[in-house]
């Protein structure tokens, strides 16, 4: 047992200097090749886009309070859901955990001084900003109304909005993703500390590795698809236009060949974070470590084989539909394996309900509901009814917001003391975690019912009998909004005024905790040597451990 005085000694006083934050000039930030600083640059950039996309969502939810709308025209509403989807997917969710938390902790978890290609890493951020600038430009000029899915021939022939600049933005940001992916793959292969074998890697590293493979293999297909859309809009080449002998359904195959793996790019990193949190806050090695690691790889591979389940009513072949349905049930299995293993990890642990753990438990709850409703969509005859309704809206928000954003928030709280050297206020943290959980469920659960009733997605106006579900959802969204604004405030406050955290406030075992907080520029004074498996916790010894810092 560790006495309270020992913890006080550890967490008291000022933090180590110089550290990676010591330089303050703008130049030192814009020309940095430090993975930690690049992670923070990414954090600010994605928060900017998250804010815009959230405002779009809020406006939509307010508009949907009444069946006939009233605040805005249908054109505006259509542009809002396009902004919301495009920015959330490509400019927030995809970079969220990998480019922010991954960039920050991956090299430290490996015991490395930086990623393999630090200059490319900075290039990735600049490309991301450039892509974001194109997207913002498209919004300033009047926006896009195709939906984030850019379905042809609407996007190629019929839409009168700024499709090309938005496509260009996503295209360029895609290269940022590819570069991050390459960097993570090479870093994981080549820069592991002595003794850090593959099966001693933290599960977050495994999940980032699997994610990176998908980023590198899938994103080029998105680039080609967006390129073809632009060519068709500018020169009418006729790949997708049936009047010129093209096939609009071909677009859907290409788009989902990228976008289904992208769904896993948007959840695997969250699963990785949750594995870290569950282990640390139940003071226990993750149950079935090898199976959880392999499940990440299985998801990465199978994720490429299920794109056609977005197209069961598109007029794709009946037999193709059957194969895609069967494979979709298969891809659910490794996700289930992860959930079962997290649950088993809790057994005989010593469970601390710190804020990150609340987010981790929230993640499991919401992800399980999101995953199970995915089975409804994989079932062919049921999907025919619920496809393109609010049921699917509810399903993927449970995965992407309930899963990925909850994982991101959990990870951000967990590594915040490492990033800033200071602790966030624990009570406020818990309240925010609770508010997001309750608000989220109230926002999205009614949408399952609404979807089964038949309310189609992307409807600016709707039949009056659906109103009550929209009102519930909007009420939930306001609570959810509070749950997101609270951390924004207390994180900013704590970066200056929070209690000094010390190197390892959570008494966690990962290598990132074995250096000072905030870490020095090159992470470690001496390259660490790994001699044991990850998550070397002992629940019995830690049964009475008091993480006094929280």
């Amino acid at each position: 047992m560790i006495s309270a005085t020992e913890i006080d000694i550890q967490t008291g006083g000022e933090f180590a200097r110089p550290n990676y934050l010591s330089e303050h000039s703008v130049r030192s930030w814009l020309l940095t090749t430090d993975h930690k600083r690049i992670g923070i640059l990414y954090l600010f950039t994605i928060l900017f886009f998250f804010a815009i996309a959230s405002v779009a969502a809020a406006l939509m939810r307010i508009e949907l309070l009444y069946p006939t709308g009233g605040l805005m025209t249908s054109e505006t509403y259509n542009k809002l859901f396009t902004i919301h989807g495009t920015l959330m997917v490509w400019f927030f969710l995809i970079p969220s955990i990998p480019a922010v938390l991954g960039n920050f902790v991956l090299p430290m978890m490996l015991g490395a001084r930086d990623v393999a290609f630090p200059k490319l890493n900075l290039t990735s951020w600049y490309l991301f900003v450039l892509g974001g600038a194109f997207a913002t430009w498209s919004l300033i000029r009047g926006g896009v109304d195709t939906g984030w899915t850019f379905y042809t021939p609407y996007s190629t022939t019929y839409a009168n909005s700024h499709v090309i600049s938005m496509a260009a933005g996503v295209f360029v940001a895609g290269f940022a993703t590819i570069i991050t992916g390459i960097n993570f793959i090479v870093t994981t292969h080549k820069m592991r500390a002595p003794g850090l074998t593959w099966f001693r890697l933290p599960l977050f590293v495994w999940s980032l590795y699997a994610t990176s493979l998908m980023m590198v293999l899938a994103t080029p297909v998105l680039a080609m698809t967006l390129g073809l859309i632009s060519l068709e809009r500018i020169w009418g080449v006729g790949i997708f236009d049936p009047n010129l002998g093209g096939d609009p359904i071909l677009f859907q195959h290409m788009f989902w060949f990228y976008s289904h793996p992208a769904v896993y790019i948007m959840i695997l990193p969250g699963m990785g974070v949750v594995s870290e949190l569950i282990a640390c806050f139940s003071r226990k090695r993750v149950y079935g470590y090898g199976w959880v690691a392999c499940a990440s790889m299985a998801i990465a591979i199978l994720g490429f084989l299920v794109w056609g389940h977005h197209m069961f009513v598109s007029s794709q072949s009946v037999y193709a539909g059957m194969i895609f349905s069967a494979l979709s049930f298969l891809v659910a299995v490794p996700s289930g394996v992860k959930v079962f293993n997290w649950t088993a990890t809790l057994r005989k642990g010593s469970i601390h309900f710190a804020t990150p753990m609340l987010y981790a438990l929230g993640f499991i709850g919401l992800f399980v509901i999101g995953g199970l409703t995915g089975l409804f969509l994989a079932t062919l005859s049921v999907d025919v009814h619920v496809h393109d309704t609010y049921f699917i809206i509810a399903h993927f928000h449970y995965i992407m917001v309930g899963g990925m954003v909850t994982g991101f928030m959990g990870g951000l709280h967990y590594w915040w003391p490492k990033i800033t050297g200071r602790l966030y206020p624990e009570l406020w943290g818990k309240l925010a975690a609770l508010a997001t959980f309750l608000g989220f469920n109230l926002t999205f659960f009614p949408l399952f019912v609404l979807g089964y009733l038949g309310q189609p997605r992307r409807y600016h106006v709707y039949p009056p009998e659906f109103q009550v579900f929209h009102v519930l959802s909007t009420a939930g969204a306001s609570i959810l909004g509070v749950g997101y604004v609270m951390p924004l405030i207390y994180f900013i406050w704590s970066a200056k005024h929070g209690r000094v955290a010390g190197p390892n406030p959570w008494r966690a075992t990962g290598l990132e905790w074995q250096t000072s907080s905030p870490p020095p520029t090159h992470n470690f004074k001496v390259t660490p040597v790994v001699t044991s498996d990850p998550y070397n916790y002992s629940p019995e010894k830690d049964a009475d451990l008091d993480l006094a810092s929280i």
Binding site: N78, V318, M322, V337, S350, I364, V384, L453, P456, R458
Partner: protein
Amino acid sequence: MDQFHLFPPQASSTAYGVDTLFFVLTLISLFFIAVVFLPILFFCIKYRRGSSADRSNPSNGSNAVEVGWTTLPMLMGLALFSWGAVDYFRLERRPGNAIDVEVVGKQWMWKVQHAEGKREINELHVPINRTVALTMISQDVIHSFFVPAFRVKQDVVPGKYTSEWFKPTRTGEYHIFCSQYCGTQHARMIGRVVVMQPQAYENWLKTGEQTESIVRAGERLFHDRGCSGCHAVNSQFHAPLLQGLYRNPVPLANGTVVTADDQYLRDSILQPAKQITAGYDNIMPSFSGHLSEQEIMQLIAYVKAIGQQEPPPR
């Protein structure tokens, strides 16, 4: 139609099956939720920090357990997949002996024409307990014809016929929604299906302006647009005859054989050079841009009708 429900009305022969599977899925979901959430709750209480629970010899995993919880969901998934696939297969096969209705989707309305010639916009009148099969095409972007009360949905695609069928089992009015985003007024591309008693349906067909049947309209077009100049039995020109054509194999100049289905007939009118019948020259002009989607459907209906006739000797 506008009443508050927690569950959509079951108004077709398909609805019951879809809902049954939906409830089974819900039960299985509840089972998994219980399997995950109850232990989490239990462990969180029992092994909370500071509790005196026994934490000795914690297990780090067991391959037998892992194989178990990998295999069991996989088998369950296989069963669910098969069930859904069988129903889907039935739903995707257009039954014979149906009332044929032609639907053209365009930004932002549904244009419907019954075989008898009666036309409607954003409405579809059908008799109860009869199978109705829609042949659908879009004149611009992709739409989707969705009737929640029937649990059927099918995308309506430009340049390609798709079909959807249902057998209404309850009279009443039900929503038609366009469920594939199709532009500014997507949310207003809605309508209603009116399911009527057979007698009422017969009476409805006779009301209003009397129009010629689809086949008659096609026959008129066949002559007016000059098709008959080459394709009629007594024509001077060397063009394939259309009697006995529909649903039969057609040998092509390139050596392959295709079946003369709706899509083939449509392509032959709009892109005649795409598939040249063996023994004929590529001399037919394209009618692309000269015929509306509805006119093309009428022509095809006529070719279908004469397709049942014996090919005359030539």
